[in-house]
C-alpha cells in the first residue's frame, strides 16, 4: 500500500539513485507499520478474491461464437456472443437497421472532430469552420431526407451517437454560457449580478432528473397553443442549462484566483473590460480550473443517460432494449459490462487529456 506510506519517496529525494532490493522495497512500501501491513494483506486478499474469478468469467470460460442462447449459457462464463449478436441494437438503438451506416459515420465524424480539437495546432479560426461543417454533416446524416437518404425522425435516434450528440452539444453550449454566467456573477452591475446568482442557485438546487421532467412535462404548458419543441431538443436544453450552472461556479473559482494586480496591469494599459477578460483573465482562470472543469464534462457525459426518464433511447437504454429479446434472455451482466466499458473509455480519455493539457499549458508560473 504505497499510498499509505508517504514518507518513503521523500527519503529518497536528492539522494543518488540506488536500487532497493525486493525485500527492502516491500518493507518500506508495503509493511512499514502494523496498519500498513494489515492494509496490504487485506488488499491482496481482495484482489485474490476478485481478479481470478473475473478473468475466469470474462475470458477463460467465455463464449464469443455461440449461435444460440442455449449454447452460450452452457459454458458457464460470459456470453460475449450476445453482445456480438446485438451490437447494432446496443450501439444504434431503434435507428432503421438498413440505414445504420449513417449514425456510424456520424459518430466517426463527431469523434474525429473532438480528437482534432484536442490538438493545440488547430486552435484557431478554422476550428470553428470545421465544427460547423461537421455538425451540419452529422445533422444531414442523422435526419436524412436529402441526397436519396430516407428521412429518420429523431425519436428513432438512439444509442452511442445520441449519447455523443447530447454530450457534445451539451458541452459546446454549456461552456460559453457558464463562462458568461461566471463573469456576470462577478459583475458590478446589480441587475446582471442578481440574474446570474438567481439562475445559478436555482439550477443547482434542482436535480437533473427533475429538470428533464420539467422540460418535457411543464414546458409545453407555457408554450403557446400549437407550438411544439422537439423532445430531444428539450432534453438537450435541460442538460445545457444544468451544466452551465455548475461550470459557472467552477469558472468563478478560477476568476477569484486571479490577483488584483492582473486587473490593474490590464487597466493601466487601457484595455477595456472584454479585452481584459478575453486576453488576460480568462486564459489564466480557465487554466487553473481545467481539472474540475473536465470533472464536470465527465459527469455530464454520464448524466446524459438520465434522458431515459423522458423516453429517449441513449446508449444505456438501447442496451436495455437488447435484453428484451425473448430468445436471448438473461445476459444483463455482459451487457452492462460492455456499456460500462464504453463509458469508461470515453471518460478516461477525457481525464488523461486534461492532465496532458495542464502540463502543456504550464508556463513556469510566478506571480
Amino acid at each position: 500500500m504505497s499510498s499509505v506510506n508517504t514518507t518513503s519517496t521523500a527519503e529518497n529525494e536528492g539522494a543518488p539513485s540506488k536500487r532497493l532490493s525486493v525485500w527492502a522495497w516491500l518493507r518500506t512500501h508495503l509493511f512499514s507499520s502494523p496498519l500498513n501491513s494489515l492494509l496490504t494483506i487485506l488488499s491482496v486478499w481482495l484482489l485474490l478474491a476478485i481478479v481470478p474469478a473475473l478473468i475466469e468469467w470474462s475470458v477463460i470460460r467465455s463464449n464469443f461464437s455461440a449461435s444460440t442462447a442455449q449454447e452460450c449459457r452452457s459454458t458457464g462464463g460470459a456470453c460475449w456472443a450476445f453482445i456480438i449478436e446485438k451490437h447494432r441494437l446496443i450501439l444504434f438503438g431503434l435507428y432503421p437497421y438498413d440505414e445504420q451506416w449513417r449514425p456510424l459515420i456520424a459518430t466517426g465524424i463527431l469523434l474525429g472532430t473532438i480528437i482534432l480539437s484536442g490538438f493545440r495546432r488547430f486552435w484557431n479560426f478554422w476550428l470553428v469552420v470545421i465544427w460547423t461543417v461537421a455538425l451540419i454533416a452529422v445533422a444531414i446524416l442523422m435526419w436524412g431526407g436529402v441526397f436519396g437518404m430516407k428521412f429518420v425522425e429523431n425519436n428513432l435516434w438512439g444509442g452511442l451517437p445520441l449519447t455523443l450528440i447530447l454530450s457534445t452539444f451539451g458541452i459546446a453550449f454549456a461552456f460559453p454560457i457558464g463562462v458568461v454566467l461566471a463573469l456576470g456573477r462577478r459583475s458590478n452591475m446589480p441587475a446582471i449580478k442578481a440574474i446570474c446568482v438567481v439562475y445559478i442557485e436555482l439550477i443547482r438546487g434542482v436535480p437533473l432528473i427533475s429538470l428533464l421532467f420539467m422540460s418535457s412535462v411543464m414546458l409545453p404548458l407555457f408554450l403557446p397553443e400549437g407550438m411544439n419543441i422537439d423532445k430531444l431538443l428539450r432534453a438537450q436544453i435541460a442538460i445545457v442549462m444544468f451544466a452551465a450552472a455548475y461550470i459557472a461556479e467552477t469558472v468563478r473559482g478560477g476568476l477569484q484566483a486571479i490577483p488584483k494586480g492582473q486587473f490593474e496591469g490590464a487597466d493601466s494599459l487601457g484595455l477595456n473590460y472584454w479585452q481584459q477578460m478575453r486576453l488576460i483573465v480568462l486564459p489564466q482562470a480557465l487554466k487553473i480550473v481545467i481539472p474540475p472543469l473536465v470533472g464536470i464534462f465527465i459527469a455530464m457525459f454520464k448524466d446524459t443517460s438520465l434522458v431515459v426518464v423522458i423516453g429517449i433511447f441513449d446508449l444505456t437504454q438501447s442496451g436495455k432494449a437488447a435484453l428484451t429479446d425473448q430468445t436471448w434472455r438473461g445476459f444483463s451482466a455482459e451487457l452492462y459490462f460492455f456499456i460500462a466499458l464504453i463509458y469508461f473509455v470515453f471518460c478516461f480519455s477525457m481525464s488523461k487529456y486534461s492532465q496532458s493539457l495542464e502540463k502543456r499549458l504550464a508556463t513556469g508560473y510566478q506571480r
Binding site: 494586480g261 490590464a266 493601466s268 479585452q275 510566478q366
Partner: protein
C-alpha cells in the same frame, strides 16, 4: 513653467472613514520629474493611482492633458492611453511571453499592426537592455528583469506621463540598480513626465526636478531636491529624512 500636463485641485479621497487624501493641489508641468516620498500610509501611492483612475477620488478635480477624470469610461480609457504605470509587483501577464506582454497594448488598444507593434516592442526591450529575453515567460526572469519588462511594456504605449509606484521596493537589493539605471536613462534621454513614488533618495537627487513629501494624506512640503534634502523646513520632513538617511 511649461503648461501643466496634469492638474489636481482640492482632491479628497476616503477609504471608508479613513481620509487618505486631503485637499491635494498639484500641478505637474510637461517634462517635469517628480519624486513623491513619505511614510507608509501617507497616501503617496493612492495619489498617483488616482491619476489613471485605479483609485477613484471623491471630491475635487483631476485634469490630465485637458481631459477631466470623471465616471465617463471613455475619458478614463483616453487618459489610460496617455498615462503609463509601473507597479511594485510588476503585474506582468504570466501566461504571455515577454514580447506578447509588450505588444498586447499596442495591438489591442492602439490598433497597431502586429509587425509594427513587435518592432516597437523590440526597440524598447533594447532600451531596457533585455532584447534576448523576448521569447521567455515572465516567470523565467529575475525580479529586476521583470520590472524592466514592465517599464518597457508601459513605454510601448507611447505615454505622455509615466507613473512609478515604488518600482524597486519588491526587488532584491542587487537588482535595484539595474532598474534605477533604466529610469535615469528614461528621464535623461526622453524628457518624459515622470511621477515616482520611491524611497530611493539617490535617484531623487540625481533626477528629480521636485521632491514632494506627504504625510497623513497631505502634501507637507515640496522643493527642489537640493533644498529639500539640505534645508527641510517642516519638522515632520526632518524626522522622516532622519529616519531614512542613515
Amino acid at each position: 513653467m511649461a503648461h501643466a500636463i496634469m492638474r489636481m485641485k482640492d482632491v479628497n479621497k476616503w477609504f471608508g472613514k479613513f481620509h487618505v487624501l486631503r485637499n491635494i493641489n498639484l500641478d505637474v508641468a510637461s517634462g517635469e520629474r517628480i519624486v513623491i516620498c513619505g511614510p507608509s500610509g501617507s497616501g503617496k501611492s493612492t495619489l498617483i493611482r488616482c491619476i489613471n483612475r485605479l483609485e477613484e477620488h471623491q471630491s475635487g478635480q483631476i485634469v490630465v492633458e485637458g481631459t477631466e477624470i470623471t465616471n465617463d469610461l471613455r475619458h478614463v480609457e483616453a487618459i489610460r492611453r496617455e498615462v503609463g504605470m509601473v507597479f511594485q509587483h510588476f503585474n506582468l501577464f504570466p501566461h504571455l511571453t515577454v514580447l506578447e506582454n509588450l505588444t498586447l497594448g499596442p495591438i489591442w488598444v492602439l490598433k497597431l499592426p502586429r509587425a509594427e507593434a513587435e518592432k516597437r516592442a523590440m526597440q524598447y526591450l533594447e532600451r531596457v537592455r533585455i532584447p534576448d529575453q523576448a521569447g521567455k515567460f515572465p516567470g523565467q526572469l529575475s525580479g529586476g528583469q521583470q520590472q524592466r519588462v514592465a517599464i518597457a511594456r508601459s513605454l510601448c504605449m507611447d505615454p505622455k506621463i509615466m507613473l512609478f509606484d515604488e518600482p524597486t521596493s519588491a526587488l532584491d537589493p542587487e537588482m535595484v540598480k539595474e532598474v534605477l539605471d533604466v529610469m535615469v536613462g528614461l528621464a535623461n534621454e526622453s524628457g518624459m513626465t515622470m511621477l515616482v513614488v520611491t524611497h530611493e533618495m539617490g535617484f531623487a537627487r540625481k533626477v528629480a526636478d521636485r521632491v514632494i513629501f506627504m504625510d497623513q494624506g497631505e502634501i507637507i512640503e515640496q522643493n527642489t531636491p537640493d533644498a529639500f534634502f539640505d534645508t527641510p523646513e517642516n519638522d515632520r520632513t526632518k524626522l522622516f529624512l532622519s529616519q531614512i538617511l542613515h
